[in-house]
């Protein structure tokens, strides 16, 4: 007799667990946390970009109403250790600095003091009463200035502003370039800011009696934060707990050990009271991290048929005044180096990377941190097509690695497997209907209308193949998860992830509920509390969750299920292999009449125990990086450029991508659209701009332009599914949109202008109008 099929929740856009609280205003974000006897902390920050900090006159401020304490570097001595990049990172300059500026300030926004008061208003009033004396120093406001030995070094313990340099050859670039045609591109894109809608913050609660410190933090990496704080504050790890409430977006900005986190925790220790710090938007724009501050020169050796023989890439990165701990200045280059050949058949690469410090905010990981590789490569591919008089799709077609060539090692190390880049290109070209567009473009040109079509093809390591980490010089522990049967037969899944919009409470529940055989509502996903969750350096980031967290949750759940079936097998005197769980009932396969409710098994497990088990039934599992692990796709878009004003409008935007199977289709689409929106912002609107003296000019939303609903088109999305290479065929998708959108828009605008050379972002109307003039269209 046939049994009800076990409900399968995966592959459906089920109701999100998170929505109940989010839609009713019952989320609990950092600013919603209120503890008894709590003090409010605000930071006093440097108003100048570079100078000696000679005095902080805080006496008047200390005497104001409600002020409890004013903490400077002096008060932190002995409480918080000095900071620097980890000693085990090779070949990188590691200047030493403090959580609060001590001898110097090095960027506008550098934190100088934390003012603690009974109310936020009082703390800000006191801040206004503090007078800071500086001796201004010459500023280092660009990579060029950082390269100039005549400019001062930012630190006494480094003699230049060069932090790291590397140069490598893969294959034989000399031979490949010899006698070949060379096509070049260069890019000096702007600094951008992450701009999560929720700013950073933390509530530190140090208990004077026990010495325990609980830190509520807006973080995407709670264990890494705990590890960092433990070291800097000499806080024993068993007495330190990081708890992550709901987090309002991060995009990589909340993966750091912020200097502010250190100061706030130290402040709680010093004051003997809880301390809350929530930055305002000005601080978030000015003093939190920025990204994409790099310049690139790229050259390709090509043959007359458009085959790309070799690349020569010179990347210079400006990481700001302080490393964004725990990431060393040498973090980003190797990833860009590894990824720059992308899904293309390019065997030879000459690579050079230099990293500089400047009087600017720190460079933080931002959604697809290595994205510059796709930006310059895809723009170069279109440039190659233009110079050779070939169709950009054809150039890609000739150079993309085909499925029948895989598995194939990239010149830079990782193995390409299951990469359907070529298929996504063909489908995107079909969807956008190139031929029809070219006819339309010619017709439009005749009427003075400028239409353009661009393509961009990319891959992202989501999480990448097992040999990816070695290629970029990183080592990450395998992902872990725990599954625990509760006394009522429900299931708790404890993940190392720290979601901030990724819907893991839902997607991991879908996987666990499907595997276990219970209703979706019987599964609860726990995250973000270091006291409960397994260790992970990353938390949520790097597009690893879909594969790694899912795999770990799946295996942990499967292990608990195995124990349940064993117990039930004993009780029913049936082999566990003949049992199944359907809708929370353990039964012989196909025989619901003889089933035992899961709750009964759970009760037995808790009351009677099982040999070798802790209470109840609990299993942990790790999941190792499986083969394949690449997501990717092709973006295609059509723009219209107003030839009189330079305004760019997106007429059509198409995405064909492959991220394997979809756990929750709406979640996947949301990630793609959100990523593209940030990419459009990068291409057309956003600029975390400094002037020539490193004064920051984009501190408010009046100057930093985040796209609104009017700037983001309705994006057409199609999914391809490569065949599973591993048990878990879900792959990450969070970063691709932000990676591919800037180059696709550059290529479309360039095409609208008959092949213009674009080397700057954002493409403001003024910039585009100048290109229109140059192109003579």
């Amino acid at each position: 007799m046939s049994a009800p099929a076990a409900a399968r929740f995966v592959g459906t856009s089920v109701r999100r667990v998170e929505d109940d609280r989010i839609l009713s205003g019952r989320g609990r974000y950092i600013d919603d946390i209120r503890l008894p006897n709590m003090l409010h902390g605000v930071f006093l920050r440097s108003g100048i970009a570079h100078g000696r900090l000679t005095a902080v006159h805080a006496d008047a401020a200390r005497g104001l109403d409600g002020v409890a304490a004013i903490i400077t570097a002096v008060e932190l001595e002995g409480v918080a250790h000095p900071l620097s990049t980890r000693p085990d990172v090779p070949d990188v300059a590691r200047p030493v600095f403090t959580a609060l500026a001590s001898d110097r300030v090095r960027y506008v926004g550098d934190p100088i003091a934390l003012i603690l008061a009974e109310t936020r208003h009082q703390a800000e009033d006191a801040r206004d009463a503090i007078i800071v004396d500086y001796e201004p120093l010459e500023t280092v406001a660009s990579i060029e200035q950082a390269e100039d030995p005549a400019r001062p070094s930012l630190f006494d313990d480094t003699d230049s502003n060069l932090l790291y340099t590397e140069a490598t050859d893969y294959g034989d670039p000399d031979a490949a370039f010899a006698g070949a045609r060379v096509v070049r591109a260069s890019f000096a894109p702007q600094r951008v800011a992450h701009v999560p809608m929720e700013c950073r913050g933390g509530v530190a609660d140090h208990h004077p009696g026990t010495g325990e410190l609980v830190y509520y933090a807006t973080t995407q990496s709670p264990h890494a934060l705990k590890l960092g704080l433990s070291g800097v504050l000499s806080q024993p790890a068993e007495k330190l707990r990081v708890i992550t409430p709901d987090v309002g977006g991060a995009f990589g900005q909340k993966a750091m050990l912020n200097r502010e986190d250190i100061v706030v925790c130290a402040a709680s220790k010093l004051a003997g009271r809880p301390v809350k710090w929530v930055e305002d938007r000005i601080e978030n724009m000015t003093a939190a991290t920025h990204a994409r501050s790099e310049t690139v020169e790229i050259a390709a050796a090509v043959d007359d048929d458009g085959a790309i023989l070799a690349l020569d890439v010179n990347l210079k990165i400006d990481v700001g005044a302080y490393p964004a701990l725990p990431f060393p200045p040498s973090f980003l280059g190797p990833i860009v180096r590894t990824m720059v050949t992308g899904p293309y058949r390019i065997e030879h690469l000459r690579w050079a990377n230099t990293v500089f410090q400047t009087n600017k905010a720190s460079y933080g990981t931002y959604r697809g941190p290595w994205a510059v590789e796709s930006l310059v490569r895809e723009v170069l591919v279109d440039r190659i097509a233009h110079e050779l008089g070939l169709d950009p799709v054809e150039v890609r077609r000739r150079n993309l690695v085909r499925m029948d060539e895989q598995p194939r090692k990239m010149a830079t190390g990782p193995t390409l497997e299951g990469v359907m880049a070529l298929e996504t290109l063909e489908r995107a070209a079909e969807l956008i209907d190139q031929d029809a567009f070219r006819r339309e473009q010619i017709e439009a040109r005749a009427h003075g209308k400028l239409l353009g079509l661009g393509f961009a093809t990319y891959i992202e390591p989501a999480p990448g193949p097992p040999d990816f980490m070695a290629s970029v010089g990183m080592q990450l522990p395998d992902e872990r998860a725990v599954a625990r049967l509760e006394i009522d037969g429900h299931l708790t899944v404890i993940t190392a992830q720290a979601p901030h919009g990724q819907s893991h409470e839902t997607t991991l529940a879908q996987i666990a509920a499907t595997e276990f055989g219970v209703p979706l509502e019987h599964v609860r996903v726990v995250h973000g509390d270091t006291q409960q969750t397994p260790f992970s350096l990353i938390g949520t980031g790097g597009s690893r969750a879909a594969t790694m967290a899912s795999g770990a949750a799946l295996h942990a759940t499967r292990a608990v299920k195995g124990k349940v079936l064993e117990m039930a097998g004993d009780m029913l005197e049936i082999s566990p292999g003949d049992l199944e769980i359907v809708d929370a009932v353990v039964m012989p396969k196909g025989d619901a009449e003889r089933g035992i409710p899961l709750a009964q098994i759970a009760m037995a497990a808790y009351f009677m125990g099982r040999e070798g088990e802790d209470d109840g039934l609990r299993s942990s599992a790790t999941y190792q990086q499986p083969p394949g692990g690449w997501s990717g796709g092709t973006h295609a878009c059509i723009v219209e450029v107003d030839p009189q004003t330079g305004v760019v409008e997106i007429r059509r935007y198409v995405v064909v991508e492959d991220c394997g199977e979809l756990i929750h289709p709406a979640v996947v689409e949301g990630q793609i659209r959100g990523g593209i929106a940030q990419g459009i912002g990068i291409a057309l609107l956003e600029n975390a701009l400094y002037d020539e003296e490193a004064n920051f000019l984009a501190g408010t939303f009046m100057d930093y332009l985040v796209p609104t609903s009017m700037e983001i088109p309705s994006i057409e999305i199609e999914h391809l599914h490569s065949e599973a290479l591993a048990e878990v065929n879900y792959r990450g998708v969070g970063e691709g949109g932000t990676i591919a959108a800037p180059p696709v828009l550059v290529n479309a605008v360039a095409d609208a202008l008959g092949g213009a050379s674009i080397g700057v972002l954002p493409m403001t109307p003024e910039y585009v109008l100048a290109l229109v003039d140059e192109a003579g269209v």
């Binding site: 936020r120 208003h121 800000e124 009033d125 206004d128 305002d280 000005i282 009189q644 004003t645 305004v647 609107l685 600029n687 701009l689 000019l697 984009a698 408010t700 009046m702 100057d703 332009l705 796209p707 609104t708 009017m710 700037e711 403001t764 109307p765 003024e766 109008l769």
Partner: protein
């Protein structure tokens, strides 16, 4: 960020408001819609000793017929003005300009008088007041006076209001029926302050020639700029693209926009000319 401390006063009548304004002249700010002032307070970019909230002074609210045109109380919300059929009929350039101001939530609270008294050079309402030869009525505890729009806007965020005065009414002479109007802006995003914008109104005579033309620019100087020479050129001319192009050139000659992080003066000037032509074409009945 939280506002600094201030003394808060909420007069219930115009007389009371004017008395307070006189008493605290020089160290008070007027809170009308708050859409411009509150950001300054929250960002601690303004430190008025006293805040005079005129939100309860009902005499300042209202839209009425005035001398063939329309008079708008200073505390009339922009959203109410947007919905007013009287304004739509008698001052359609206002109706065209209003939807460009920010977003509905801003227009729900923001006031017509507040925008005009704030005098941001990229704001639409000051430009419309200038284009329509508005009369701004200012009151103080010593009486009332009428200031012509051309004398009102003195420069960046500066008007000719005295420290003890309040703007109480904006009187807009009616444009003869048959005027077309347009307000065209270039902003980086929808609803942003314009990089440059143009308001235009055109009326034709029975022969189809231009009987009246109004042309005003925002974002090109410290205050809105009326293109008098261009208007004079257009009067009597036929409404052709060539005439509009010539007028735009003349208008461009009269402006010298400054540069900032968003756009250079040269770009603003060039686009001002482009938008002038587009606005004139759209405003042509």
């Amino acid at each position: 960020m939280k506002p600094p401390a201030f003394r808060y006063l909420a007069p219930r009548s115009l007389e009371e408001a004017l008395a307070l304004r006189a008493e605290h002249a020089g160290d008070s700010a007027v809170l009308a819609g708050g859409q411009s002032l509150m950001p300054l307070l929250n960002l601690r970019m303004a430190f008025p000793g006293t805040l005079i909230d005129v939100g309860h002074v009902n005499e300042l609210v209202g839209i009425r017929e005035w001398d063939g045109g329309v008079a708008i109380g200073a505390m009339t919300r922009q959203r109410a003005a947007e919905r007013s059929t009287l304004i739509d009929e008698r001052a359609p350039l206002v109706a065209k300009a209003l939807p460009n101001i920010g977003h509905p939530a801003i227009r729900n609270r923001g006031t017509v008088g507040g925008s005009i008294a704030h005098a941001d050079p990229a704001a639409e309402l000051p430009a419309v007041a200038l284009a329509l030869d508005a009369e701004l009525v200012a009151a103080s505890s010593s009486g009332e006076r009428t200031i012509r729009a051309s004398d009102f806007f003195a420069g960046y965020l500066t008007t000719s209001l005295a420290p003890d005065e309040l703007l109480v009414e904006i009187r807009l002479p009616g444009l003869a029926a048959g005027h077309g109007s347009a307000f065209v802006e270039l902003a980086r995003r929808h609803g942003d302050f314009a990089l440059v914008g143009v308001g235009a109104a055109v009326a034709l005579d029975d022969a189809g020639a231009i009987a009246d033309a109004r042309l005003v620019f925002i974002g090109v100087a410290g205050a809105p700029v009326r293109a008098h020479a261009a208007e004079a050129l257009l009067r009597g001319a036929m409404p052709t693209d060539e005439a509009y192009a010539e007028a735009a050139e003349l208008a461009k000659d009269a402006i010298d926009p400054g540069s900032d992080a968003h756009a250079s003066g040269a770009y603003r000037r060039r686009v001002a000319g482009v938008l002038a032509q587009r606005a004139l074409r759209e405003a042509t009945p």
